[in-house]
């Protein structure tokens, strides 16, 4: 114990040195350029400037953050392009760490557990993720393959994260949150971009993008990227097998053919190779399990088209996409999914104070999979059809000071039939600077393919082992069931936003979620198995809906522009989960307080613009312990320094997790993949535009 502490203090000191070096490196520049003692209170008054002067000013924040966020009756957080660049995040999961109320834990180099407001896990099934309107939530296990959800990060316009249900607009599965990754229009990515990055964890990453103009009002871009990550280390400090590398490419075309019609066509294609260490059950004595390094790959592609048309008082949008995902984990499971989706939406301004939105959609899912002793999914081929429609009306009252939104989604899926997800949201403007909102909504999480027809062998109890004393080996297995139904949520949310001064704002959201029919695993009658003679017993635990309970939490986020060039922001997330088995449940797993989610999280971030086009960012983050997994709490410190010596060139370098040499963040559920440690890393990068 004492050696760990001592170790950490040394690390702390070395982190301090790295920091100091970073800041000292930029200080002489700062000294040289400051033309005398600056007055920190001297905020720019633009009315004292002429048009010519104003035209010469650099805009530092082109962020659109204040817009929609300020007048939505939901807990919304927007990650801007600038936020991504300045955080030094190398992937979308890493960028999500700055969102209040969201939990991001890395399992190994290529796997994450990401959740919103609880229920975190590698197979978290209550978070919906969309990239440019395309749902990337897999119908296989109702979760997200985070390692393939990637775009050129420089092309991201923003990531909008809504905590809490978004089911009325986005449908089933938008239970605890919706993440919308939105890329820039091709018009805004004209010209060339070449980037290269290397670091102690990311061996290499390169990307190329080129954008051009086809004709007036029609623009395109194409991109390609490649990256390769070193394997991390396991709990004992030995090199793990979790390296990965990936190649991706894609294009986007945006056209404003006429003033009332616009089109977008975009597509991506990718191939990832990943490694991991797997432990799978086996019937061979003496271990009845085998552990080995496993190499698999993910590949896929998608194509999306969208047509927007505006009328004088209304607008329509028609979107279609095809998405293909291949997973090949040769020793365990393979799966090929094809999703065809079509969506139509119509926004209508009705008179002075009403806005009506309605739409409908259809999704067809084709799945083909290959099984192993560990994982088997029946049927081997399935075809699902889902239909949906929604209607939502926003009414403005009291001289526009109050907005009421009422609506519902109506859906039909082949497992549970008809589902509806209504909500009521109220936004009130108290003063010009303050607003409050409240919402009550219902959301459902519809069953995934695995919850209907899976057999997952989790472990083997050797013959003769107490308390069973079975003469044959006993395989503990998780089974799906056609009787498994939807999980239900009734959510109550309130929020408050204030722009206290021109430089300080606070956004506060609180919620109480009441869940029913959550998934439990009920023991079933043992089955004798083996061919040709029975050689083992299967002890099934069958997916059922016998858990329920409540969660509540509060998530304040504050931003303070101390000076025009220095911004501090911070957030705290409190989450309390009280999920328990129903009285009639026989599920033997003990209830875990707070599940696999941290009770407390906070961060503090400083973003500073220095002269000579230098920028410096620091972020300190705290994540509470996960008692259910025996994972201790941790602090992390990230530093990023960017420098743009000329307008075409951007240099960046930084370090992540500078406070700890290594730490474990999560232990995955269901599939026994070896978790690896997150290490202290440094990186440097260069990007050139032309």
């Amino acid at each position: 114990m004492s050696s760990i502490r001592k170790n950490n203090v040394t690390l702390m000191a070395s982190a301090g040195r790295i920091l100091l070096a970073g800041v000292l490196a930029v200080c002489p520049v700062a000294n040289a350029s400051a033309a005398g003692p600056g007055n920190p209170q001297n905020v720019l008054d633009p009315t004292q400037l002429s048009l010519e002067d104003l035209m010469n000013l650099q805009v530092t924040s082109v962020s659109k953050r204040p817009q929609k966020v300020a007048d939505s009756a939901a807990a919304v957080f927007v990650i801007t392009q600038e936020d991504i660049r300045r955080s030094g995040a190398a992937s979308i999961p890493e960028a999500l760490r700055m969102v209040p109320g969201v939990e991001v834990a890395r399992i190994d180099e290529n796997k994450w557990a990401i959740g919103s407001r609880g229920f975190n896990g590698r197979f978290d099934n209550k978070l919906l993720v969309l990239i440019d309107g395309r749902s990337v939530y897999t119908p296989l296990f109702s979760g997200v393959y985070w390692n393939v959800q990637d775009v050129l990060l420089e092309d991201v316009d923003r990531i909008e994260v809504i905590r809490g249900p978004g089911a009325t607009l986005w449908g089933a599965n938008a239970v605890d949150g919706v993440i919308n990754i939105i890329t820039k229009s091709a018009k805004n990515t004209q010209g060339g971009l070449v980037t290269a990055e290397a670091g102690s964890e990311e061996r290499t990453a390169e990307s190329v993008r080129y954008g051009g103009k086809v004709k007036d009002n029609t623009y395109y871009r194409v991109y390609g990227k490649y990256f390769d990550w070193y394997p991390s280390i396991d709990a004992t400090g030995a090199t793990a097998s979790d390296g990965w590398h990936a190649l991706r490419g894609g294009f986007r075309v945006d056209s404003n053919l006429t003033t009332t019609n616009s089109f977008t066509i975009q597509g991506d294609i990718y191939h990832d190779n990943f490694g991991e260490t797997l432990t799978v059950p086996s019937l061979t004595s003496p271990t009845f399990a085998s552990t080995y390094p496993n190499n698999g790959y993910n590949s896929g592609g998608n194509l999306l088209g969208r047509w927007n048309h505006s009328f004088s008082r209304s607008s329509t949008s028609l979107q279609m996409y095809y998405d293909r995902t291949n997973i090949a984990d040769p020793t365990v499971f393979s799966d090929h999914e094809s999703v065809y989706d079509i969506d139509f939406q119509h926004d209508i301004h009705l008179g002075e104070s009403q806005e009506l939105v309605w739409g409908f959609g259809y999704r067809s899912i084709q799945d083909t999979n290959g099984s192993s002793f560990t994982v088997a999914l029946l049927p081997a081929h399935s075809s699902l059809n889902q239909y949906s429609a929604f209607l939502q009306d926003e009414v403005s009252l009291l001289d526009n000071r109050m907005h009421i939104t009422v609506g519902s989604k109506f859906e039909h899926n082949p497992f549970t039939g008809f589902e509806f997800e209504p909500n009521v949201r109220v936004l009130g403007t108290l003063t010009k600077e303050q607003s409050v909102w409240a919402a009550v909504s219902r959301a459902v999480r519809t069953p995934a393919l695995t919850e209907e027809g899976l057999q997952l062998n989790e472990g083997v109890i050797p013959p003769g082992a107490p308390p069973l004393n079975s003469p044959l080996p006993v395989v503990e297995a998780v089974f799906g069931s056609p009787l498994f139904g939807s999980e239900d949520l009734l959510a109550y949310e309130v929020g408050y936003r204030v722009q206290a001064t021109s430089s300080f704002s606070l956004d506060l959201a609180a919620f109480y979620n009441n869940y029913t029919n959550l998934r439990s695993a009920e023991p079933g009658a043992p089955i004798l198995a083996g061919n040709p003679v029975p050689s083992y017993v299967v002890l099934p635990f069958v997916a059922s809906n016998k858990m329920s309970g409540g969660t509540y939490g509060i998530e304040p986020f504050a931003e303070w522009k101390v000076l025009p060039r220095w911004k501090l922001s911070g957030s705290y997330s409190f989450l309390r989960m009280n999920i328990h088995k129903n009285a009639d449940s026989l599920d033997p797993t003990p209830d875990i307080p707070n599940g696999l989610s941290p009770r407390h999280q906070f961060y503090f971030r400083s973003s500073l613009d220095l002269p000579k086009h230098l920028e410096q960012d620091l972020m300190v983050r705290y994540v509470d312990k996960l008692p259910g997994l025996d994972i201790p709490s941790y602090y992390s410190l990230d530093l990023h320094i960017g420098w743009k010596p000329i307008s075409q060139l951007q240099l960046s370098f930084g370090g992540q997790d500078l406070l700890n040499s290594k730490h474990l963040e999560f232990i995955p559920e269901f599939i026994n993949t070896l978790p690896t440690q997150v290490r202290r890393t440094v990186y440097g990068g260069i990007s050139w535009t032309f």
């Binding site: 920190p40 633009p46 104003l54 035209m55 650099q58 805009v59 104070s353 722009q499 400083s606």
Partner: protein, 188 residues
């Protein structure tokens, strides 16, 4: 002890950034909407409204912000105690469908893109300086459109629209503007 380390870490970060920033201050950079508010103030100075547009010599200049407000409180703070000749500023937040005719300047937010033509049509013949910040707005009939290019704010002027509104735009303003050609037939 467990809490001490992070507090020290935060302390170090803070003091370092503070130290660095005290050195670093100069005002050559600023936020987009602070700058845009400055543009609007300058436009108010450099545009001549026709006789009768203001009831009294000290009638305020009414600025309407239509749709989603990107300024937050910035524009109110900037213009709170400013006046041009004897005219103060009044800022109003407006939503599509409300009466826009009482404005002298109307800032049309990006949220109104889908029905911009109808907004412009409802103001036809009125001496209201329309200002947008969305690509294509000037071509679609907005008098002035602010655009951000290479992190600097530029603006376009639609002279035809200004003439229809009976507004006189000073040559100083025009010299810095990008003049947008007459709207073509397909914009109607």
């Amino acid at each position: 002890m467990r809490l001490l380390r992070p507090i020290i870490a935060i302390g170090i970060c803070l003091s370092l950034t503070l130290g660095a920033s005290a050195q670093a201050l100069d005002s050559s950079d600023s936020s987009e909407y602070l700058i845009k508010a400055g543009f609007i103030y300058n436009f108010a100075k450099l545009v001549g409204w026709p006789q009768g547009a203001f009831a009294q010599p000290d009638s305020p200049i009414v600025i309407g912000i239509l749709g989603t407000d990107p300024f937050g409180g910035i524009i109110d703070r900037i213009l709170a105690d400013k006046q041009i000749d004897a005219r103060h500023f009044v800022i109003k937040r407006l939503k599509w469908g409300m009466d826009l005719k009482g404005c002298d300047i109307l800032f049309i937010g990006s949220s109104e893109a889908s029905h911009l033509e109808e907004v412009i049509r409802s103001l036809k013949g009125l001496p209201i300086l329309t200002i947008g910040e969305t690509p294509g707005f000037a071509r679609r009939g907005c008098i002035i459109n602010l655009i951000v290019e290479d992190n600097k704010v530029r603006f376009e002027v639609n002279l035809d629209a200004a003439k229809q509104a009976d507004l006189n735009i000073s040559s100083r303003l025009l010299a810095l503007a990008r003049i947008i050609p007459q709207p073509t037939a397909d914009a109607r």
